[in-house]
């Protein structure tokens, strides 16, 4: 298990020679061991950036990220990071079983047959061991993706909108499934989502990222914009008891 600390982290992206976009500014965040935290916010507000920084896929522009007091790259190198993306990111030429062998192979270990079989059962894909991703439904692929993230018994589980591409019914079902799986493992988890229900259903703590996208100076015109009203509605919902 692990604790995560973000100290004054900001991240800037250069989109052209003289245009920069601030995805995060002076963000502080601390996640306890075994805690399930959901990062909630509309798309493009920097939620995934936080995840990428914790996963060591990106470097912060300022500030620092620590996982168990160490930079994320070290956790990465020790293969103690489980990660699942919105797009399943499975190897299309491998079977379900083959895809679950991959983390072991990357780590240079002998694939643990029993653990793989257990995980396939845990995510409810018994009988589909030899199916390839193209033969599975979207929900099943995400199960494989989550099973793969759990393969090496990681200390930290990062879920980047894992059910974002699924329809509402499948998504609700997958939320129940993820809760069942998580209760068995209780790994420190960060879930990035833009669905309020999902965040509240799964997490111990929901962190809401809201960046106001309007340039200054703002005028009465700003207040008339549709985007403005969406944001107001969003925040008002949070305040409701």
């Amino acid at each position: 298990m692990s604790t995560i600390e973000l100290k004054g982290v900001s991240k800037e992206f250069r989109i052209s020679r003289d245009k920069r976009v601030m995805a995060l500014s002076a963000m502080d965040l601390s996640i306890r061991e075994g805690e399930f935290v959901a990062l909630l916010g509309p798309s493009g507000c920097g939620k995934s950036t936080i995840l990428h920084l914790v996963a060591g896929l990106d470097e912060p522009s300022t500030g620092a990220v620590f996982v168990d007091g160490l930079p994320p790259a070290q956790l990465q190198a020790k293969q103690q990071l489980g990660i699942a993306f919105q797009e399943h990111a499975l190897l299309p030429w491998r079977t379900v079983e083959g895809n679950l062998e991959l983390p072991f192979q990357i780590a240079g270990r002998e694939p643990d047959r029993k653990q793989i079989a257990d995980l396939i059962e845990l995510v409810g894909l018994k009988g589909f061991e030899t199916a390839r991703p193209s033969q599975l439904s979207g929900g099943m692929r995400q199960r494989v993706s989550i099973a793969r993230a759990l393969c090496l018994s990681p200390k930290l589980l990062l879920l980047d909108e894992p059910f974002g591409a699924l329809d509402a019914v499948t998504r609700r079902f997958m939320n129940l499934e993820l809760q069942r799986i998580w209760q068995e493992k209780q790994i420190t988890t960060i879930l990035v989502t833009h669905t309020v229900e999902e965040a509240i259903f799964l997490a111990d703590r929901v962190i809401r990222e809201l960046r106001v996208p309007f340039a200054r100076p703002r005028s009465v015109e700003t207040m008339r914009r549709e985007e403005f009203h969406h944001l107001v509605d969003d925040l008002t919902l949070c305040l409701e008891p």
């Binding site: 990465q76 293969q79 990111a89």
Partner: protein
């Protein structure tokens, strides 16, 4: 599974292709018989008669084996060097621009100019294979380079977050992602290897279809010359077809 409609469409297309091919052969026959194309364009039936004569058949077979061997060796050599160079450029990105330029320069060398040089340095026996290897090297280098960077972005992120070494990533992701592009390159390389081998033989190889074409041209044995040309085209197209089938099978496996 393809739908019935598109399978019918495929059948229709094949039918058109066969019709076009038959029409072309018929035109050839007519042009040859009527003498429109002059004495150097024999009728198709006269060319086909060459294959009926046993000593000529034996000659063509011997020549075909020699040329195919040269083309095959050239293909192997060029593809191996092309792959190694593409992997090197991927492994050491700083070298990539230089290797790109080198590949372009190698490809820009005209075979006609290079032939005599190779005859002197590498010998008559090896020249056809070497001239076949040069364009193959270029094609496979280009196909391999683009194939090696064609891996899915999400998968790349997964490998990075999983702490995969360069080598592990290459073995489990990049090399396999490169296969469709590589096979596509190989498909084109087969035909260029045949051309390279035939041209290489012109500079004085002991045997081969290129030699048969050259000798028959000079001795005005026109039907035999055409028969040899058809064998060259047949071997090229067979190689192209076989690799096309392999390519499609791989694509289906990777979808």
């Amino acid at each position: 599974m393809r739908e019935n409609g598109s399978r019918y469409g495929g059948l229709e297309r094949t039918l058109y292709q066969v019709c076009g091919f038959v029409l072309l052969l018929a035109l050839w026959q007519i042009a040859g018989k009527s003498g429109i194309g002059g004495k150097t364009l024999p009728a198709l039936t006269d060319v086909l008669r060459v294959y009926g004569v046993s000593w000529r058949r034996a000659l063509l077979l011997r020549a075909a084996v020699a040329t195919t061997t040269s083309a095959g060796l050239g293909l192997l050599l060029g593809a191996t060097l092309g792959c190694i160079t593409a992997i090197t450029a991927k492994r050491i990105p700083a070298l990539a621009p230089g290797l790109d330029r080198l590949a372009v320069v190698v490809n820009a060398l005209p075979a006609i100019a290079l032939g005599p040089v190779l005859i002197i340095t590498a010998g008559r026996q090896a020249t056809p294979a070497l001239l076949a290897a040069i364009p193959v090297f270029f094609l496979i280098y280009v196909a391999g380079s683009s194939g090696l960077s064609s891996a899915d972005g999400r998968l790349e992120q997964y490998f990075k977050a999983s702490g995969a070494s360069w080598w592990k990533r290459f073995v489990y992701l990049d090399s396999i992602s490169a296969l469709p592009a590589l096979l596509n390159g190989m498909k084109l390389a087969v035909t260029t290897a045949m051309i390279g081998a035939v041209v290489g033989e012109w500079f004085g190889a002991p045997t081969g279809l290129g030699i048969v074409i050259l000798n028959t041209m000079q001795n005005f044995q026109i039907p035999l010359m055409w028969a040899a040309v058809i064998v060259v085209a047949g071997i090229s197209l067979t190689g192209y077809g076989v690799l096309g089938i392999v390519e499609r099978a791989v694509q289906r496996r990777m979808a």
